[in-house]
Amino acid sequence: MAEGKYSTVEYSESDTLASLPLYYLRLYYMDILFQEDKDNQLYSECKFNRGITYATPCHKHISTRFNLTKCLKSKE
């Protein structure tokens, strides 16, 4: 299966589906690629359509950004 494409889950006869809501009978899945960039900053990368790759940086010290803003202000 190509990455970034939705496919439907294939059930076998042995799967117990009796009590599932109907939409589960056509459940979609997509494979996701995780990787780290060259700065060793963690990125979660999902390939979607239109050839666009959304890469979301997960800042490790995001909660301290307020302090950073304050520092910059005080330097001014």
Partner: protein
């Protein structure tokens, strides 16, 4: 706060590890606007109560190593994650048992839990009386109730059923229309290993009849509306930012545009809903007690606007980016100034 007294602080509740789409962009704008903010990653950290003085209306909260006064908070943005206070956790079998019994311990833990919820509910109730975007206690709406209210307001909605047997499905199949099925709450969305599962809308005709049991879990079934195009409309502080999605011509996106492929991307264009529809959607959002929401509509082959559902917190980057609405900037400006710009 943070070593020295600061006022006009914006509190942002979000997540650290997932659903970060939009957060970073708003934070960059807040940095640019030099608006002080505190980001609380709800999946990793929580605020805790330091002190409350009811008579003087003072509440002091702690975030990691810092404390701040609720009076210094100018605005709040709830984006994602569970909002709760950090509280001590008790194990009924190891702590209270030593004094009384395990049965007493279990009752005590339940009782202390209610104590903690009472405190949290008061503190967050006060916090969300500040100018805010979204409400952590209204992150989910009942789709069936919403459809009922939408009908009352005068919006057109597809015929909707909850079915629980293959006989009922067969009766519907005798009618001329197609039908779809989707989650009555929210479709399952989860990542197991490197595989992301998504419970999208499915056409009943695409479900293998051999998989159907005589009786099954009550399932939401709706008339499939033949569409000219879909509309995603984000309502932010009474303003609508809409986008048309031309998903009808591709078999993979015809039923649910989220099942898009690289081979045949949908076209997204800025769109203006008629004033009458916007007014009805606004009435709906007010009835639901929301101040923001992302609406899904269809413009049908019969030239009618059909309302499908509303997502209270909403994903707006998918509308903002293709349509150049700069909602991330508008959000930051609203948080700083409390006015729509």
């Amino acid at each position: 706060m943070f070593g020295e007294k600061t006022s006009n602080v914006i509190i942002i509740f979000c997540q650290y590890t997932s659903a970060t789409d939009g957060i970073e962009q708003v934070l960059h704008w807040l940095d640019h606007l030099q608006a002080p903010y505190l980001r609380v990653n709800c999946d990793k950290e929580r605020l805790s109560l330091e002190y409350l003085d009811l008579a003087n209306d003072q509440i002091v909260l702690r975030h990691n190593e810092s404390t701040f006064d609720l009076a210094d908070v100018s605005a709040v943005w709830y984006w994602r994650g569970g909002v709760s206070l950090a509280v001590p956790q008790y194990d009924p079998s190891s702590i209270v048992q030593e004094i009384f019994s395990e049965d007493f311990g279990r009752e005590a833990v339940k009782n202390i839990g209610m104590e903690q919820r009472t405190i949290a509910s008061y503190v967050f109730g006060k916090l969300f009386k500040k100018p805010h975007i979204n409400d952590p206690y209204r992150t989910s709406v009942n789709k069936l109730q919403v459809l009922e209210i939408a009908q009352e307001i005068g919006l057109k909605v597809p015929k909707t059923y909850l079915l629980s047997s293959s006989k009922q499905i067969a009766e519907l199949a005798g009618e001329s229309s197609d039908y779809i099925t989707k989650a009555a709450h929210e479709g399952i969305m989860t990542t197991i290993g490197r595989r992301f599962y998504n419970g999208l809308t499915a056409n009943l005709a695409d479900i293998e009849s051999t998989l159907l049991n005589e009786k099954f879990h009550p399932s939401l079934v709706q008339q499939c509306i033949e569409k000219q195009y879909e509309i995603r409309s984000y309502c932010f502080m009474d303003e609508f930012y809409s986008m048309a999605i031309f998903s009808q011509n591709d078999d993979t996106t015809k039923t649910d545009f989220r099942a898009f492929t690289q081979d045949c991307p949908n076209r997204y264009v800025p769109y203006k809903l008629p004033k009458e529809i916007e007014e009805k959607l606004l009435r709906l959002i007010k009835r639901l007690g929301l101040n923001c929401g992302s609406f899904d509509l269809i413009y049908s082959a019969e030239d009618e606007y059909q309302f499908l559902e509303v997502n209270p917190v909403g994903q707006w980057m998918m509308t903002s980016v293709p349509c150049n609405y700069y909602l991330e900037k508008r959000t930051a400006l609203w948080l700083k100034e409390n006015t729509v710009q």
